[in-house]
Amino acid sequence: MTFIAKPKVAHPSLPKNARGFTRRDYEGALSTLCAGCGHDSITAAIVEASWGLDIEPQNMVKLSGIGCSSKTTAYFVSGGHGFNSVHGRMPSIAMGANAANRQLSYIGVSGDGDTLSIGLGQFCHAIRRNLNMLYIIENNGVYGLTKGQFSASADVGTKAKKGETNFQPPIDPVLLAMTLGATFVARSFSGDKQQLVPLIQAGLKHQGFALIDVLSPCVTFNDHEGSTKSYAYTREHYEPAVHADFVPLEREISVDYKEGETVPVVMHDGSRIVLRKLDAGYDPTNRTTAAAQIQERMKAGEYLTGLLYLDVEPQKGAFHFVNNTPDEPLNSIPYEALSPGSQGLEKALARYR
């Protein structure tokens, strides 16, 4: 880690967003991660994306579990709400908070350990319930905080820093999410902010569960020769398939897109995600063919990246729709309306007698 705090001084012409904030206002505490950690780049991408979406910091909820990745919620939007949950239990907390207040922007940051090992069950059910949140996996294939053992996302054949080879098959969060019915599935790389920032923006705006699996090299335990999640290996093997641009309501779709190559998807609030296919044969709106292609390319040793699957009508199965949650936060509903009173309780109980 580094011990020198980022000074308050900023570029004098730093632009302000619609709320009057600069990017610096979306920063957080001093990162205690290793210098060069991919997670810090993802933090910077979240800062950039939140600033670009004009989110009021107090309207952001940052949730995490345990691990290097889960520490990062302290490093962005220090004005937001935060909750560090028990290991792997972040989705439960997100669920509760989400049920109580659907007007906030929920961002969960987890790692491959927190999500794919101890928290796998919670992760699956959060997808199934189509919880309205952005779930970022900072995926580096190792347990960094416990000195670099293979995690559940380590590829077959990848080598640990000390030389041993992994033989257990990995759990791929993208394929898993596709099969579980996720409505927004993306993969990206910490070293590609041009792709990552608009994905985070689209994910935050998506009305339902948005998953971004971000390959985020562990500079200390998994950035060597023989690793399949190093900076160099990821750069060589990652294939952008679909680029997603987030276009806010106020802005027109810029003209440099060629007709036919792009698919604009209108979001609930009128903003749009413009999908630009980089791989002509790939259809990001067809779950079946998309999943098959991702798997095929993975066998060939390539990671397809970008917005890999998008359900253009996520509302149908969304948590708030299914559970008929109120629009306004529970804390703004009068006590009388929230509580049925002792008579009401009696009535309710009578139904079960």
Binding site: V9, A10, H11, A35, S41
Partner: protein, 603 residues
């Protein structure tokens, strides 16, 4: 863009904006760090090496370093570099023992310097330690030139002036006071091995308007008048004084007038503010003393009554300015009379060489200015050198000092039978400041304090005597804060492309967004697609070689880097390092060392 050639000493030199802007290339960040450590004597000597007169310049330097200071681009006000220089000079110990040693055995070469001003004194300062015998001819009874005659003692006390001049004259200079040189031919006949002309620009410009002759008794030429005040020939002036011109001499004239009995002093400017030649701080100091600066008045005539000046008439001028502030049109809208008892003309000065015969092989151009080589300061006659205001017209002390340094190199080469134009090239040394994990041997915290203000003697006290120094100098608290404002621009961000793994850590942490990893392109286009657009075209972009993984390049906009070192601190592979650059700007002593090294060694 091609990868930046950082092996060229100019590249990292230019990053140190103050040092680059300083004609003498004083190592400003180094001496500020020494002051921060309380090492005033060391700070003084770092200064003295390049600018020779730290105590004098710490008060009256024209400060080209300050407008250049990077801090000024980040939060408007630059570091008070000049004031800190004075701190070093005021608080130093005796430096006699640490001044260059003068060899007892001379090298047999005799050098004549004309005028005991800052240029000649610098030549003597550089050549005496090499064994030369330097003779300075000075027309007045005291050395110092314009520093003594034109800068009032309330800005530059004589004690400071005398002490720093004595450091040079005590080297054994043959200083001949009251010895004006009246003929170059006669001087050359004395057989000196080289002659240096540092006679300044002693001729004030005249304003030929109706009534000038009649009013002569009460119309003064600024620099001549200041000179008479300096030597005590003039000790009073009328109650109402008009100063014509708004340069730094005008500021000295108006403030001196107030100390000689003037009650109402007006400085008359032809053009609006923004066109003034005077330094901003000198204007501020004059206005603090209730000098009125009247703009848009063009002098028309001196008005006299019974052969005595009663005032002046001016045309009232109106200007049209374009968006960039340039004058596009001007017209006269009226006329105004202002009463005055005395008028001082401060509209410029020139060098003048009536004493240089025109048949000596010293060529003069069509403006009757000697033809001087810009690099060597040699006139068209070998062995005759010019420097200071005498060379290229009025500039300032610090330029004259640098001219002196360069002329000294030329004189040395000339006397050793070497070509004067082939000189040592400047160089730069880089040395890492990394001490260990997260330890850097410089203060890289950004300290968000504002520029400290110089305390002044109260307006009541300061007019009691002519020589009460107005500026009191920084207090210990002010020094402690001001030194921390320096960004240590000489601790350079040095990048090694082959080590970079493109993790983006440096880009993410840079507080001023000056780093970008991107595809290479033409400079004008590259400047537009950086993390923060690089709009200051006066500041270079650093472009690395292609990075190993993607072939993209690391681009750094040097404009606003605060040298906090976080890029190096966050870099997992030490591709970024913070390295202190030390400029090697050759002086005559280096030239001598290099020439000696070439000589065959005899056992």
């Amino acid at each position: 863009m091609e990868p930046t050639d950082t092996a060229n000493p100019d590249y990292y030199h230019r990053v140190v904006d103050c040092q680059w802007a300083c004609p003498a290339h004083t190592d400003v960040p180094e001496y500020i760090r020494l002051i921060a450590q309380g090492r005033f004597t060391d700070a003084y000597l770092v200064n003295r090496e390049s600018n020779v007169f730290p105590g004098i310049l710490g008060r009256v330097c024209d400060r080209p370093c300050e407008p250049a200071c990077r801090r000024g681009r980040i939060e408007q006000k630059p570091v008070a570099i000049c004031r800190l220089k004075r701190v070093a000079a005021d608080h130093r110990d005796d430096v006699t023992a640490r001044l260059p040693k003068i060899p007892r055995a001379k090298n047999g070469k005799r050098i004549a310097c004309i005028g005991a001003g800052c240029a000649s004194l610098t030549v003597a300062n550089d050549l005496m330690p090499l064994g030369y015998q330097v003779t300075i001819f000075e027309q007045y009874g005291e050395p110092g030139g314009l520093m003594r005659t034109n800068i009032p003692s309330f800005r530059l006390p004589h004690t400071v002036l005398n002490e720093e001049i004595a450091m040079i004259t005590d080297m054994g200079v043959d200083l001949r006071l009251n010895s004006p040189v009246r003929s170059m031919r006669a001087l050359l006949a004395q057989g000196f091995d080289a002659v240096f002309v540092g006679s300044g620009a002693p001729k004030g410009k005249e304003l030929k308007l109706p009534g000038r002759e009649t009013a002569a008794a009460n119309v003064h030429i600024g620099i001549a008048w200041l000179e008479s005040v300096a030597f005590g020939h003039i000790d009073k002036i009328g109650k109402r004084v008009l100063i014509i011109g708004v340069g730094n001499t005008a500021m000295d004239c108006c403030r001196t007038s107030l100390r000689l009995g003037a009650e109402s002093v007006k400085v008359m400017a032809r053009k609006p503010r923004g066109f003034f030649k005077a330094s901003v701080w000198e204007l501020e100091d004059a206005e603090e003393e209730s000098v009125q600066i009247v703009i848009n008045r063009s002098p028309k005539a001196f008005v006299t009554e019974n052969g005595r000046l009663t005032g002046m008439t001016f045309d009232v001028v109106e200007y049209d300015l374009d968006a960039t502030g340039r004058i596009t049109a001007e017209r006269i809208t009226g006329e105004e009379f202002l009463p005055a008892d005395d008028v001082i003309l401060a509209i410029g000065q020139e060098n003048a060489f009536p004493w240089v015969e025109r048949d000596l092989g010293i060529e003069f151009d069509k403006w009757d200015v000697p033809v001087i080589d810009k690099l060597t300061f040699q006139a068209t006659r070998p062995g005759v050198f010019f420097g200071g205001d005498a060379a290229f017209g009025p500039k300032n002390i610090i330029w004259a000092v640098e001219h002196g340094h360069q002329a000294a190199i030329s004189i040395h080469r000339h006397c050793q039978g070497e070509t004067v134009s082939e000189r040592l090239a400047p160089g730069i040394n880089l040395q890492s400041r990394k001490m260990g994990m997260h330890e850097w041997s410089y203060a890289n915290d950004y300290t968000a304090v504002e520029r400290r203000l110089m305390p002044h003697v109260s307006l009541k006290e300061r007019f009691k005597k002519l020589n009460i120094e107005v500026e009191l100098g920084f207090t210990a608290e002010q020094v402690a804060q001001e030194v921390q404002r320096c960004l240590n621009c000489d601790v350079q961000t040095v990048f090694s492309a082959k080590l970079c793994i493109e993790c983006d850590a440096c880009l993410d942490i840079c507080p001023v967004d000056c780093l970008t990893i991107t595809h290479n392109g033409a400079e004008s286009e590259l400047r537009t697609r950086l993390k923060a657009p690089a709009q200051n075209l006066t500041q270079p972009l650093y472009v690395s070689a292609g990075l190993p993984q993607t072939g993209r390049v690391m681009v750094k906009d040097e404009d606003l880097c605060v040298h906090c070192g976080l890029c190096a601190e966050r870099c997992p592979t030490a591709a970024w390092d913070m390295q202190k650059s030390e400029l090697h700007w050759p002086h005559a002593s280096d030239e001598a060392g290099a020439l000696d090294a070439r000589k065959p060694k005899i056992a």
